[in-house]
Every structure is written in C-alpha cells, then in structure tokens.
C-alpha cells in the first residue's frame, strides 16, 4: 500500500515521521479489532484452563446460542452508529417469537411475515417519531420496550398461552444443521456480510456515519437525515423480529418469558465491539466479536462451576468492566504513540 505523506513544500501539513504512520495503522487495528483480540485471549485462557471448553460441541453451542443476540446486535450497530439507541429490541424479540409461533399454524410464510411485519412496523414508527419530532431515541424506544411487551402479553393472553410451532418447515429453519452449524448461524453470517457492505460500501452506509458524526453537518451536507434515521430503526426492528422468529423456530414455541434485559446485552456486545455510543464510528466485525465474547464469558463462568449464582454475577460484571478498560487502554496507547 502506498501512503501519501504530507508534502512539505505545499506547506499545508506538518511533516510526519514515517514510523508514526505505521504505528497509527497498528493502533487503528487494535482499536477496531480490540474486541477480537480480547476474544482470542479469553478463548486461549479458557482452553488452557478447562478441557471441556474447547470441545467442538461446546464451541458450536456458544456460536449457535450467540447467533440470535448477534442478529439483533447487527441492527443495534446501525442504530448506534447513527447516534441513536434502540431499547425496544428485547421486547421485539419476544413479541416476534410469540407471533411467529402463532403464525406458524398458517404456514411458513405467515410464520415469518407476521413477526417481521409487526416488528418492522413498530421499528418504522419509532424511527418516524425519533426523526420527525427530535425526541430522544432512548425515551422513544423505552416506550417501545414497554408497549411491545404489553402487546406481547395481550397477544398471549397475559402470558398464559404459549403457542407451539406447528409447521415442520418453519421448525427446520431454526434447527437444521449445515456443516455442523444451524441455519440461524449461517443467516447471521450472511447478514454480517450484507450489513458490512451496506455500511462501508454504500451511500446509505456513509450517510449513517455522517449523521452519527454530526447530525447538523449531515443536514447541511444534504444527507436525507429523516429518511436514513427511519430506515435505521426499521432495520433494527426487522432484525430483532427476525431473530425472535428464528429463535421461536429453534425452540418450537413462542416462549413469553424471553428477552427481558436483552437490550442491555445487545448494547454491551456492540460497545465492546468498539462502536462508540456517541455515534459516527464502529463496525460489524467488532459487534460480532462482542457478541461471541459475551457467550464465551458465560460459558467460562459455567466451567468454573463452584461459583454461587450471586458470585457468577459479580464475576460477569467484573469481566465486563475489565474488557472495556482493556479496550480503553489499547485505544489510549495507540493515541499516545
């Protein structure tokens, strides 16, 4: 790769030492793949400490169970890069599961379309409110969290009815394995690729970064801010809905007690992945590493075994703090060099 070094004759830039650029590159790498590195270290430590940690089955379990969180986190990454936040995803997830299970009695198509339509519509509505009224996304989606949970309870008879999936094709969507990994995992991978291209390689993606970086500037640069924001929340709603539906397919039922507090896990995954909550920066590979890291931490805590349930919580809190502190330190080291 060629690097253009500031031309001293032009007098516009201070001369930069060649070493700086390389160090900057490394720093860049560390910052953007900090989560990946922390993940690698954690897995390594786990492998050394526990025999049963690196068995293929355990690895597959972690990947499969992380995939639902990961799908939701893709949407959340979009929202957070745009400078917003979506607290409603947990409720979307559980509502979608109930709707998918209910819809499955009318066939595969309804089982998929019903939750996607409803969650997409609510995502759209939230996006419209955020973009049009300028209300804080935190509050709008907090209302979404409450409202959708209410809707879920209403649909399921105050939580008393658990609909069972009654469509083989739909169940297969959640349970069939290809090359050792279930369909949702492959869907996750596909979505990451698609989302990555959307973010990095399309005008729409660039607009998201611009809005998150400075909404005022984006408006003045002619970015269709309202439309982009609406679409971002729509995407988040759709992906949370999709994840919920796939999860229902995996569990073969519309479980009503899921999803509480899921939004916080999802946000944690995104932020551990290096996406800034202030918006304008971040990406999907980090998010995926963040989602996996959460799964790995859980698994490690289980491996330790002797911890009481309360102590498990202390450890996972400490772990979370450790991860973000490590990331900050890496980030700082890069800036200082």
């Amino acid at each position: 790769m060629t690097t253009t070094i500031a031309d001293a004759d032009a007098g516009t830039e201070a001369r930069r030492r060649p070493g700086t650029l390389r160090r900057e590159r490394i720093g860049h790498l560390v910052q953007h793949h900090g989560a990946l590195m922390v993940l690698a270290v954690t897995v390594l430590l786990g492998a050394v400490a526990f025999d049963s940690f690196t068995t293929p089955q355990n690895a597959a379990n972690i990947v499969v169970s992380s995939s639902f969180l990961a799908i939701v986190a893709i949407g959340m990454t979009f929202v957070i890069i745009s400078g917003g936040i979506d607290l409603s995803v947990g409720s979307s997830f559980v509502l979608a599961g109930v709707l998918a299970a209910y819809g499955s009695r009318y066939g595969l198509l309804v089982a998929l379309l019903l939750p996607l339509t409803v969650c997409g519509a609510i995502g759209l509505l939230q996006g419209l409110i955020v973009a049009r009224t300028g209300m804080a996304p935190f509050i709008v989606t907090l209302a979404g969290l409450l409202g959708m949970r209410g809707l879920m309870l209403a649909v399921s008879g105050e939580g008393a009815n658990t609909y069972l999936v009654q469509n083989g094709a739909f169940s297969a969507l959640g349970q069939t394995s290809l090359l050792g990994l279930t369909v949702p995992v492959w869907i996750t991978l596909g979505l990451v690729l698609l989302g990555g291209v959307l973010l990095q390689r399309t005008g729409f993606g660039q607009n998201i970064y611009a809005i998150g970086g400075s909404e005022e500037a984006a408006v003045l640069m002619g970015v269709p801010v309202t439309r982009v924001k609406v679409i971002v929340y729509l995407i988040s709603g759709l992906l949370a809905g999709l994840a919920g539906a796939l999860n229902a397919a995996r569990l073969s039922s519309g479980v009503t007690i899921l999803g509480a507090g899921m939004e916080l896990d999802v946000i944690a995954a995104v932020v551990i992945g290096g996406t800034l909550l202030t918006g304008g920066a971040g990406g999907l590979t980090g998010t995926m590493a963040g989602a996996l890291l959460l799964g790995v931490i859980q698994s490690l805590i289980n491996q330790i075994g002797v911890l009481t349930s309360s102590f498990q919580q202390v450890v996972s809190g400490a772990f979370l703090a450790l991860v973000v502190v490590m990331q900050r330190i890496l980030h700082r080291a890069q800036r200082l060099s």
Partner: protein, 508 residues
Amino acid sequence: MATAVLEARGISKGFPGVLALDDVSFRLDAGQVHALVGENGAGKSTLIKVITGVYRPDRGTLLLRDEPVTFDHPLAAQRAGISTIYQEVNLVPQMSLAHNLLLGREPRSRLGVIDTTQLYAEAERVMTRYGIRTDVRRPLRSFGMGTQQMVALARAVSIEARVVIMDEPTSALEPREVDTLFGVIADLRSEGISVIYVSHRLDELYRICDRVTVLRDGRVAHDGPLDELARVELVARMLGRDPAEIRRDGATRFTGEHTTTAGEPLVEARSVSRRPVLRDVSVQVRPGEVVGLGGLLGAGRSETAKAIAGALPVDAGTVTVAGQQVRRGSPAAAIRAGVSLVPEDRKAEGIVPTLSVRDNIALAALPQLSRSGVVSDARIDRIVDSFMRRLRIKAASPYQKVSELSGGNQQKVLLARSLATGAKVLLLDEPTRGIDVGAKAEVQALIDELAAEGLGVLLISSDLEELVEGADRVVVLRDGAVAGELSGDQVTEEAIMATIAATGETDG
C-alpha cells in the same frame, strides 16, 4: 434586465427576542459575485440559511429563475443547484477527509458499491487542485481549520451548482489559499455561475465582487455595484455611522506602540516539543507586550498556544509563568497562574452552547466569583455586566443562550471569559476571525488597551496586517519549529512572508 438567478422578496425571520431579518429583499444575477456584508449579527448567515432551506422564513418569498420556490431541507436547495459553504465548518469530524469531500457522490464500482480505491484517488486529485497534498484517509478532525475549510470549499464547488454561497470562506485561510479560492471563484464566474460572498475582509470584497448588499440590524442598508462605493462609504453603511468619522480612524485600531517593561517575562515556553506537531519551540511574553505568532496553516501556532495553556501535553520542554514552572497538562493550573487561552475553534472548544451568555462569561472565573463553593450572583452580575458593556456584546439579555448569538458576539463572549479570570497573559488564537470591521476594531483596541495595562498578549493571526500593526514582536513558525523572530522595524508583511518562505536553513 436579465432575469435573476435567485431572488428573495420581503423576507422576515425572527428568533425568540430577535428579529434577525426584517423585510429583506435580495437579487442575484447570473455570473455575478455578490457581496453580502454587515456587522456581526446583522443577519447575513440567517439570510443564507433561509435561502438554503435550513430555516423557514416567517414571511416573504424566494424565487429561483423567477419561479417561486420553497426549500424545506438543505437537500432540496442543493438539488435546485444551490450549493453552500456555511459559516461554521460543517463537516463530519470523525469521517475521513475523502469521505467528507465526496459524501453523496462516491464513485461506484461495477457492482454498484462504493469503490474505495477510486474514492481516495479522486479525493486526492481534487485536493491537489486546491494545493493540498495529504493523506485523505485520515479523519477530518486531524486536520487544521484551514484544510477543513478548503475541503468544505472543494465540496461545495464540485457539486453541479448554478449558485454557490460562501459564508466567510476565508476566515480560516491564509493568503496563498485565499488566492487559490479566488482563482476558483473566477472560474465559476466565467462559467456563468453566481456566487454570494460573505466576508468581513474588505480587501477581498474589492478584489472579486461585482455587487454588494449591506445588511444592518436585519434590514437592507444598501444595495448596488461595489466599484461605485468607496471603502469608507461601505464601512459607514455597515456601521450606520458618518463616513467622515470613519476616515479619521484608519485601518486597524492598533496604535502600534507599547511601553514594554524590559523585566522578567510573564510567560516563557522553553524548547517545547510534541511529536509530530511541535519541535523545540521557545516563546516569551513580557508584561505590556503583544507578541505575534505567524506562520502558515498547520505551522503549529495553535499547538504552541495550547501547550502554553496546559491544554496539550508536551514531550519535552517547560512553561514558566512569572518564574514558576506550571504543572504539565492542566489548563486549570495555567489559569490559576494567570494564563488564559481563547481557542481558535469556538464552536468545538469555546462556547458551552446550552448555557447563557452570562454563565459562559463567568465560567472560568467561577472560583473567584464564589465563596466556599456557593456562587455570588451579585458579583457575577457585576462582572458580566461590565464585560458585556466593555466589549459591546450584542445579546437580547445576559440570559440569552450563547448559541443564539452571531459568531462575532460569541467570540467576544470568549474574550470576556478569559478576561474575567483576571489573566495576566492572554493567548489569543485568531481572535478577530469572523468578526466584523467594527467589532474587529474594538477587539484590536482592546488588545492595545490590555497591553497598556500591563498584560502580556500572545496574538495568533492569519491576517498579516493585524500582526504587523498589532504586535511588538513576531515569532514565525514553520512546520512546528521557530523559523525566525522579528522585532521593532523588522516587523513588516514582507519580512514575515520572507521568513515563512525561507528554505529550511533555520532548521539546522
């Protein structure tokens, strides 16, 4: 008469407590460069924002080639062929220079996705045309204000436009870049594209503008061809004063003579270094002295000031105030020692937009204005009142939000904030940038006055005239190192330019 490219008829626009535009009419002809001038807060930026759909006018109509139009979004104006550089640089700091430059017009590959290789190549090509060769992948915020301004300019011009509006495009540019800009404007004019040009620098107006509209207090005070209007007349129209009075006062308000006590320097930076922007910079300021800091964009002037103010950690070197070494990296310590910085980027580092004018002025001096942690409103009122009067800050009331003031008045608020701390040394980074002629003169007079009172001033300015007339001594920086120092009769525009241009023999 040919049809106007753009016309505004009877535009009024009010903000809480202020009528920013009052029945303003404005007409732009094809291929003309039309100056829009007026004091700070006269309503220039507001008019531009109304024209480009950022604000909806309360009354009045907008016509584009005689067709009535309403833009309810800047995008709509852009689509109609109106391209704008807004006053405060409005780009996305975290995005790369290239992405900022080409946002919305990124080159696509055959698959329809953005072709990044081509994107960077294209951006490099464009920037080279504007005399800037640099790594366009770096985030925009890592560039100086000048470069950022050039990006905004290149961006605005490269959009297919019939009208290009420039709100104070040169305030962050140095002479060479201004020349580049004027070359661009000349090209535009020859292509029949119209330009609305806002600036407080009168020389520039006379160099390139055909017509001028003067705004005063939200109303049109004058409209006509520029070459028929003498300089003093123009200033008189802007200020609403008698031309004869203006004629007496001269170009800048500096008297040029300070009685510098030869004694101990008030502040002294010794061999300050910070990779990669500063190398071995030494500057000292004595009481009653105005020391100019000259150099091109990115020469490291702002960094020097920040290093002295404790806002930038340094790798090597020391800063002493009145013989006492200042603890590194703490603006608080610097302020306590009597050194106060008025930063260059007032939006990002200066004002606190959510607070009132009053709270902004009192901010840095709070410890002095309170007793055991409880603020004294009486004392704040007194100090705010006196500074608002002394600096003639135009605000509806001290309780108006500072973000609602015009750029020039915001600058004065920051100056007041520094002065309120009772600083012995002021570090002024482009203190007259974006300030109208009247206010500029006031600020300059104030600098003189402060120096006369025994304060030391470090003055950073891209306006050579200002440096020459205002400073007793000028330290010239190049590439983050001192390239030379001029004092006494040596301080001339030519000498400064020569020092800047001298090939690196001073580098050793």
